[in-house]
């Protein structure tokens, strides 16, 4: 730090992990074609993005009534994109309780070489099998602590240490609700840095629900994070992920080395990703509610759809889900909550009750 409190990040290397083709699937209600996947993956590869996640929005095992059926299986997506990737690596998400080791083996067999093993921020002890299996396959193995605002920095550090003990080579602070402010991020990254081995990396995955994606990512880097999740034009759940091309521009200005080609990413955002959007991925009334109330970003489109079905404002449903402390994976409770609210408000006819 220099005299005026400015932390000089010049020369720091940061690995950028693109989310457009996984978290972005949520924003597209899982409806991305293989042709679109190939176009996006090729463009990311050409722009020098070193790692990209390709899967159903819920990752392995995500195809379901609960999380929606994608246009294609994960295997079909991987088979389509792999031949077009020259420099980058492909990663996948695995949430135990949904994804399994059988599916992880299939991902590996299709060329996937990195996995984020994800749990709610207090449940790291549901991951030992999957982390160990990924390491046995020789995959780059990340422990991904979701809804990280719901654990204290010290509590999160304990969970991260558990994941490291199972074999994770990198531990993420994951702001699934887009709720955190830079100081929240700093405290959590700092707490992890204090307990993890020096060779264990730290990552940050942001959502832009309060417009803090970039500021939070930079805050994470200041405290020692070296991996940042982002998606081109922010294509992701809620108000989207940290917008990748904007983040790269900020890194360029600060002298942080991402190895990515800014102009190619700008063109890609404008010409490829934005035209794919069914709705503008931005901070609006409902996505702002997610960030403000600390609700899982993926709940957004479900709440909008069910709000329309039962005559309830999506915002009311989201606030109620926050009160009930629902976490990622409990998408079924959105309809349950909407039904209960609709009944209480006298909006249900007898047949639906």
């Amino acid at each position: 730090m220099n005299n005026d409190g400015f932390i000089d990040l010049k020369g720091r290397k940061v690995l950028i992990h693109d989310m457009s083709l996984r978290d972005g699937m949520h924003a597209k209600r899982e409806q991305i074609s293989t042709a679109q996947m190939v176009a996006v993956a090729s463009a990311l590869d050409a722009a020098g993005v070193p790692l990209m996640q390709v899967a159903h929005g819920g990752g392995l095992g995500g195809n379901s009534l609960q999380h929606g059926f994608a246009m294609h299986s994960n295997e079909e997506y991987w088979t389509a994109v792999m031949p077009h990737i020259k420099r980058s690596k492909v990663s996948v998400l695995l949430i135990p309780g949904m994804g399994t080791m059988k599916e992880l083996q299939s991902a590996y067999d299709h060329g996937v070489r990195s996995v984020s093993v994800a749990t709610h921020c207090t449940e790291a002890d549901t991951t030992p099998q999957h982390i160990a299996y990924a390491r046995k396959l020789g995959m780059d193995t990340v422990g991904f602590l979701m809804m990280a605002h719901l654990n204290t920095p010290e509590g999160l550090a304990v969970q991260g240490k558990l994941m490291e003990s199972y074999g994770a080579e990198c531990v993420y602070v994951t702001d699934s609700a887009g709720y955190m402010l830079p100081e929240d991020v700093k405290r959590r990254v700092r707490a992890l840095r204090e307990v993890l081995k020096p060779e264990t990396q730290i990552g940050f995955h942001g959502h832009h629900n309060l417009g803090m994606g970039i500021a939070n990512s930079i805050a994470a880097i200041e405290e020692g994070a070296s991996r940042i999740d982002a998606s081109v034009a922010g294509l992701g759940a809620g108000a989207g992920n940290t917008p990748l091309e904007v983040f790269v521009a900020v890194c360029d200005r600060m002298g942080i080395d991402t190895g990515c080609d800014l102009f190619k990413l700008m063109d890609m955002a404008e010409d490829l990703i934005v035209p794919m959007m069914d709705q503008m991925v931005r901070v609006d009334r409902a996505s702002l509610t997610l960030g403000f109330a600390g609700v899982y970003s993926t709940f957004l489109l479900h709440a909008k759809r069910l709000g329309a079905k039962y005559g309830l404002p999506a915002r009311d449903i989201l606030v109620e889900l926050g009160k009930r402390k629902m976490i990622g994976g409990q998408e079924d409770m959105i309809e349950d909550t909407a039904l209960t609210m609709a009944r209480e408000r006298g909006l249900l006819n007898d047949k639906a009750a």
Partner: protein, 302 residues
């Protein structure tokens, strides 16, 4: 009245809760509790409740099986050691109720197929998983009305209600439950998802059951079938309750359930623990009735 003498293997949440359930049974008597850690809370509690205990695993129990007249054993250890436990005990003529995901014996969901299993007198029955016990009756309630191409269940459980064994083996839980949705529930394809929620105060166990029917759902028949099935489960789990639904959307049927436990070993939020131990107890009682009436003859000790 004569009771069938039972051994409980595994002194974790499930084994300990079973003591309460079995002690209340008019047909069963808990005699032995088997653990592997001399200092475990479960073993201490079992001693306080009057059971004989060993911390030397099943091998510590074997010398006492015949002299103590043990005829039914409940295994609440892990999928990895169940087969070995089962082989040793069935060789002595003990019937096994398997509460691990090992599933080496037939799968049992009491209101769906217990009577059938009891008639056959199987020596090892598997109780699938808490999520399976909580959801498969509903899948069956739909599939007995009309054919179901796909059923999917989501079980949300309180973090405090699941022990280290379940946590470290979620894949086995998923595989066993998915398979049972097909084999017992009657769906052609099954999928199980589980979510562990750490909210404080702990949330009640919630289960959502989705079924896709081949033809347009017969709404009235399905509603009636689901209500009837819930009544069957309530006979052994009074807190098994419909919260919302059935909701019909095209060929999709959605049912939203809650399971409130009896609050024996863990508080009432742990309905997942209760539905498993209550189903196991009910299964054992059905066999005990058969044994006491002479209808079921357990294999003689080898």
């Amino acid at each position: 009245m004569k009771k069938i003498r039972c051994a409980l293997i595994g002194s974790g949440n499930i084994g300990t809760d079973l003591i309460y359930k079995i002690q209340r049974s008019p047909l069963l008597e808990p005699v032995w509790m088997v653990g592997i850690d001399a200092n475990s809370e479960g073993l201490k509690m079992a001693r306080d409740m009057g059971l004989k205990t060993t911390h030397e695993g099943v091998d510590g129990l074997l010398p006492h099986v015949l002299e103590d007249g043990i005829q039914i054993a409940f295994d609440a250890t892990s999928a990895y050691v169940h087969k070995s436990n089962s082989d040793k005990l069935t060789a002595l003529g003990v019937m096994m109720i398997d509460l691990t995901p090992a599933a080496i014996g037939p799968l049992c969901v009491p209101p769906v197929n217990l009577a059938e299993h009891a008639a056959k007198g199987a020596m090892n029955l598997n109780m699938i998983s808490c999520a399976g016990q909580a959801t498969i009756p509903i899948v069956r309630a739909v599939s007995r009305v009309q054919s179901v191409s796909y059923a999917e269940i989501i079980a949300s459980v309180a973090s405090k209600s699941i022990g280290p064994g379940t946590r470290a083996n979620l894949d086995e839980f998923t595989y066993t439950t998915s398979n049972a949705i097909e084999v017992v529930g009657g769906a052609r394809q099954g999928k199980a998802l589980v979510v562990v929620n750490p909210a404080e105060p702990p949330m009640m166990m919630r289960n959502t059951i989705y079924c896709l029917t081949d033809d347009k759902p017969d709404e009235a028949a399905i509603r009636e079938s689901v209500q009837q099935m819930i009544g069957e489960v309530q006979k052994y789990v009074p807190g098994y309750r419909l919260v919302n639904g059935p909701v019909f959307d095209g060929n999709k049927v959605a049912v939203f359930m809650e399971v409130k436990g009896l609050g024996d070993y863990l508080p009432t939020y742990a309905g997942n623990l209760d539905i498993m131990t209550a189903a196991a107890t009910r299964t054992a009682e059905m066999f005990a009735e058969g044994i006491l009436a002479g209808r079921i003859k357990l294999k003689e000790a080898a």
